[in-house]
Point group: D2
Chain length 346, copies 4
Amino acid sequence: MIVVMRSTARQADIQAVLERLGEHQLKGHLSQGEERTIIGVVGAAIPPTLREELELFEGVQEAVRITRPYKLVSREFHPLDTIVNVRGIEIGGSSCVVIAGPCAVENEDMIVASAQAVKAAGATMLRGGAFKPRSSPYSFRGHGEAALAMLATARDETGLPIVTEVMTPNDVELVARYADVLQIGARNMQNYQLLEEAGRSGTPVMLKRGLSATIEEWLLSAEYIVATGNPSVILCERGIRTFETATRNTMDLNAVALAKRRTHLPVIADPSHATGKWYLVPPLALASIAAGADGIIVEVHPDPDRAKSDGAQSLTFANFAAMMPQLNAVAAAVGRSVAIPAEAVA
Amino acid sequence: MIVVMRSTARQADIQAVLERLGEHQLKGHLSQGEERTIIGVVGAAIPPTLREELELFEGVQEAVRITRPYKLVSREFHPLDTIVNVRGIEIGGSSCVVIAGPCAVENEDMIVASAQAVKAAGATMLRGGAFKPRSSPYSFRGHGEAALAMLATARDETGLPIVTEVMTPNDVELVARYADVLQIGARNMQNYQLLEEAGRSGTPVMLKRGLSATIEEWLLSAEYIVATGNPSVILCERGIRTFETATRNTMDLNAVALAKRRTHLPVIADPSHATGKWYLVPPLALASIAAGADGIIVEVHPDPDRAKSDGAQSLTFANFAAMMPQLNAVAAAVGRSVAIPAEAVA
Amino acid sequence: MIVVMRSTARQADIQAVLERLGEHQLKGHLSQGEERTIIGVVGAAIPPTLREELELFEGVQEAVRITRPYKLVSREFHPLDTIVNVRGIEIGGSSCVVIAGPCAVENEDMIVASAQAVKAAGATMLRGGAFKPRSSPYSFRGHGEAALAMLATARDETGLPIVTEVMTPNDVELVARYADVLQIGARNMQNYQLLEEAGRSGTPVMLKRGLSATIEEWLLSAEYIVATGNPSVILCERGIRTFETATRNTMDLNAVALAKRRTHLPVIADPSHATGKWYLVPPLALASIAAGADGIIVEVHPDPDRAKSDGAQSLTFANFAAMMPQLNAVAAAVGRSVAIPAEAVA
Amino acid sequence: MIVVMRSTARQADIQAVLERLGEHQLKGHLSQGEERTIIGVVGAAIPPTLREELELFEGVQEAVRITRPYKLVSREFHPLDTIVNVRGIEIGGSSCVVIAGPCAVENEDMIVASAQAVKAAGATMLRGGAFKPRSSPYSFRGHGEAALAMLATARDETGLPIVTEVMTPNDVELVARYADVLQIGARNMQNYQLLEEAGRSGTPVMLKRGLSATIEEWLLSAEYIVATGNPSVILCERGIRTFETATRNTMDLNAVALAKRRTHLPVIADPSHATGKWYLVPPLALASIAAGADGIIVEVHPDPDRAKSDGAQSLTFANFAAMMPQLNAVAAAVGRSVAIPAEAVA
């Protein structure tokens, strides 16, 4: 941390800062310029609130933090890529993961049919919502445990591991009994009890970026999970909220590329929520892989115009199948692969 | 709802929309223009997903919702102001509420001293955090139930009702045993289980606006609480996240004035979090009252430069006391009052 | 400026930074911590691009600027408030200015009638657009020089000084021949040729904040004008673009209060553009004055529902007259005044 | 347009709306629902201000525009892709354009060397700033006409057409004498006189999206140019301003894919400004092509760490050359090509 004194600061002001640093077992190195003095703060453990504290001192213009506030998830502390293994599927390695399925599990037939269709087209995991967060109390909120059982059936039929959302700490044990990956949604990115409870389950966690979360906040939330002793966290960019309303959200692929540099954790992308329009999903899915994402998660529905939620952003089986060979071509262009069964690319 | 057909839509496309409406027990009224056809949708209950559904139909350009999605909190359904009564203090009436106290309850002495100081200066309620949401897992997270007991002591000493945050559904019963008002923080505005659990407690709830929540989403979250049968909801604007980084957040006083028109619930403002700088708190507190807020909530700390959190935005006792007469003057200018004890204005 | 080296930086990396500083006639003061080295940069003139330059050096983690990039408009260099004098009306002093009038000058009768009405209600200056920036090439763009002449007639009739927008460097001489204050609109806040040409005219300039301009960029644009030798600049907050669409823009009163601390220039507020809804104009006008603005500029139209532009945000004469006594009361509450003729408050 | 009446509207309110429509030679079609009445507005030319006008009427809840406000640039009116031809290079066809070069032309040697290097690596056009918009009046603003002459020399040496920015209407004639494409920068996207003057020059125009411009506003600005009779407009996404500060801007590739659907004009992407970090340029350049962009424009500098501007986001010659084969591979994956000379891919 650097403390920048005002040009009008007196010697006593500088002394007061140095004393406070001493109280925290920190040292201050003075750099006296012609216009002002700057104090470099050194020591093992800088308290998170020190910046705020010092900015209240007489004569202090600003205090600037110079190290990142997360540790366990940082690439500085762990340079090699983390690979999350889900029933033999590696996320974060050379192969890109494709997670597909409906927004919500509506009944057993539709989830099994969806699983079979996306598997045939080359998906490697199945998504489907049992508990759905909805802005309005009057919207459909999912079939709960019954839907979890249907997901398990679909897994039995196809072998695809399942990803599904958990919304509250009390449900973690229940959802983890069925799910291969616990999804934490954008609205819950800073629901800290949920992060810790999910972490303690030991199940891999997919952490979506909050609607207006900075990359740093997103990584700090991941730090909450990893700090429980669970290293299997997959980050998921799903669009941020900006002034633009022509699309549901603004997909931030800068964040995918930058997160890959800052953290060793795998980063995937969700073009369905990031665009909100099914016809924008294929171009943005390709763009995600080109930008370096470790995979995508997309909504696919047997009959999007009758979907109970998010129909507008869901691909049909046919559209999903048409996208997969292109995805494979783009992955190959950046030196990666997507596992696609022979029948799909024929 | 209005369904706008494309200029290229065929008669069969229109027919398909009408049939789908029929399946939902809705009727479509055609308005055939020279360029295109528009279908007005009428009927008692329009499903929340209908817009998405219809936008997938061949020949449909867009579907536009024309009624607001919330009901119980809407001023259309309940034109008169709701007044929330907290131990005899009315929030939402002619008098403005002033809630003051430290960000976090650090120990009994400091919370009791804070309560006495803010009461002497004219505050009508006490705030103080027992459970603190923090972006980093390494920051101070509050003293929990011990802090709740200290708040109760401060209430006993001063008579000030207490407002404190609850972060997870499991804690609602505990926090409600102590608190007069349950605060739901910005990060939890869409933590639906928490909203419902807080609602079911019957205790008044102060609902902060999410960092990037629209006014409509904020009111929908309030609807979750009121729908449990608990009408005592106080909305709190606390700044939104924008591109501007010179202040911690951007205080949205448009939202205060607009929310007062759209809902009958009381709306207060939090200039401490909305600005992040103690020296901006007084001008924005005055501005909030001038814009029509039903009160303010501000952070006051006996020694802000040693606060365990949010020191930079906390007022000293002296600064708080200096602000109160101005606040009273502005309230009077807009035909309202702030209860200030005689000794404070002397 | 502070240069933060990486923990992995070698001695040669540090040396390279010091040498580059020397090339710029700057000195670097080393602060060697346990984890990393920090270099404080001192010297008279730090080139604006130095930060970018240094961040490309091997071993440099980041370079942090620690002084503000503007000088002439900064309160550090000029602590006393600047008062802009417009035909005897002082802007930035103890009295708040009220500038009112229609969005566009539609014809002579309407502008004269508007001038008389707003004067009777207490306005101290007249606004009216002769040249209108419009997003669409198919919208009404103003009557140009003919409208300038009508404004001059309205000034002759009422004595109110006039404020009107200039959109392009070539028009500055023409508009300055009529106007008492040149308005530079939000879209042109970074039209640097226009800023300089307006500055060189010697006429006072009202500089609106750009739709997504930071406070720092706004002050830098003011610096362009003042650097031409024209000290008479009035800043105007008119709302920023955020994710919220329920109002036309988000009024940023934090920015008004903060700009008043950072610069000695007067700062006024435009609640008409900041809200986009006439019924939100009075509460936000009051809030602006309470937050410390030196005045307001509002749209008033004889018949808003037939206005050629911005009717939705224009006050009627009656609504404007009703607002003025409240404005005066709030100004008095914060120790200021608004000049209101006796007949208006009677 | 659709006019939604309130549930409390009276027959006279509806009548008043119909009469006003009649004054504009428009007709209103009533759709009487159980709760409220909706009026569909039909007729040839709906005035741009009609929406605002009607929203002021008694009994009107809202008026909703249902056709897009631009025409000439719309794909509805012109379904086939426009291909802009610049000295034989086609922009908007099957081949992707690669425009590369330094931010600013610093001297003749560096621009000629840059042109040769980017051409050898496969670039098809040369960029370089002669007039530079800068936030601070104290930053380097370009060498003006001398730089234009240096660009022309670089074109003579390499055959690469040149793209350079014009900042003010007065300079259009001068810049068009040298440039093959006139660039209009983000800050000037709504500088309407400049748009029209550039349009009238007949030279192709590259129009960058404003920092906080919606896609609709961007297309409306393009409409200004095309309305002068100049059909050769190239749109350029260069990042928008959001809350995220870890990158200079947020690249909006949703906008690239959506703009390609809404308009027939070519759309290219600028990953240098959109990210602000040279190491994010290659992944985002690849992502742009994968998302459907018709090309990219990137900053390349012989010695980025001594660049007079934007060094942090400039590629070295070597980094640019390393990116090009990858770009070609991604283009091929989406069925397009980038012209790369044999020596570059060898």
